[in-house]
């Protein structure tokens, strides 16, 4: 299954969490900023693998706290995946 198809099956893309939203981990992505929902529970590492993101290139922030790759995310969690790569070469 290609990545886009897998996402379509498991992720609801939309604005912020709302009363109509189903259960899921609310994930904020950057550049461009957007929000998606992913069915939990899952570890941070599994979430990054699911999104095809290289762990070395991002930080994961739950609420206002950094979390490690083995941290377990549940459907009530709000997380931000913040890219850390910047393009300036000085």
């Amino acid at each position: 299954m290609v990545r886009a198809e897998r996402f379509a099956a498991e992720i609801v893309v939309g604005p912020a969490r709302s009363a109509e939203s189903g259960p899921g981990v609310n994930v904020v992505l950057r550049n461009p900023r957007r929000e998606i929902q992913v069915s939990g529970p899952m570890t941070v590492g599994a979430l990054l693998a699911h999104l095809d993101l290289v762990p070395e290139s991002v930080l994961v922030i739950r609420g206002d706290t950094l979390v490690t790759h083995d941290a377990r995310l549940t459907d009530d969690d709000d997380v931000e995946i913040r890219p850390v790569i910047s393009g300036g070469a000085g």
Partner: protein, 311 residues
Amino acid sequence: MKCRRCKAPAVIDIRRHNAAFCGDCFLHHCREQVRRAIDEHTMLAPGEKVLVAVSGGKDSLALWDLLHALDIPADGLYLGLGIGDYSDESGRYAREFAVTRGLTLHEVDLRADFGYDVPGAAAATRRAPCGACGLSKRHLFNQVALERGYDVVATGHNLDDEAAVLLGNVLHWEVGYLGRQYPVLPAGSGFARKVKPLVKLGEREMAAYCVLRGIDYQVEECPMAEGNRHLGLKETLNELETRSPGTKAAFLNGFWSRGHDAFAPAADEERDDLRPCVECGSPTTAERCAFCTLRSRATAGDAPVELRTSG
């Protein structure tokens, strides 16, 4: 995961060190890495005046914060690049950092002080925007340091930046650039010393440092950098790093310990050929330096230079 130092719950894991840290121990780790880099490369001497090149991004603000945490006083210099909302917002982060900590931030604005901005220079010269940006920064950070009596310019280049630059230089065998790529560039006629105290810390660590210290920084990527070569090199290195943690540090540190000396003569030869720019007096191998050439192509005339200081 548990913190390697105190066994409290960890908030960040660093695979190349095979370690995880709690917040307090991670901040200690960052301070230690900067202190070691400064000591190993004799970057700074007591009492020297230090100028930090501040962009409003994570690396430069973290560097400024870390230097003060290590009791190394430093002022900042922000360069307004004229890249629309991105520059406006970046400047706000730099000013906010300085004001809330009572630090001195000098400012230079390309458009107000030199009559051009990065998008305009890129269009006028048909040069990649990152090239015009980097050239302007290198020239003006050095110029302001000399004019204002600073001994050292400290930049926020981290391990990832340097590894990506090294890969780019190796792929094209830029022997002069390889000879100049080092954590310290000594002062010389027309040059302030340049130091890179973050070379032992990765990009992810710098972002984590800012989050843990509550430093607000420009998270968005520069709109002009999108898809540039440097980003591509970083992505490639990060894929290698994911498969084999420690690859970037081994590549970079191996070059500095075992490869750099072979290229140093090429850089020395270039330095021997330097003479003053006929326009601004800065060292150059041509009649007119690259900055003055860029500026003259991007503008119709000269604009007076006036520095502003806040904080």
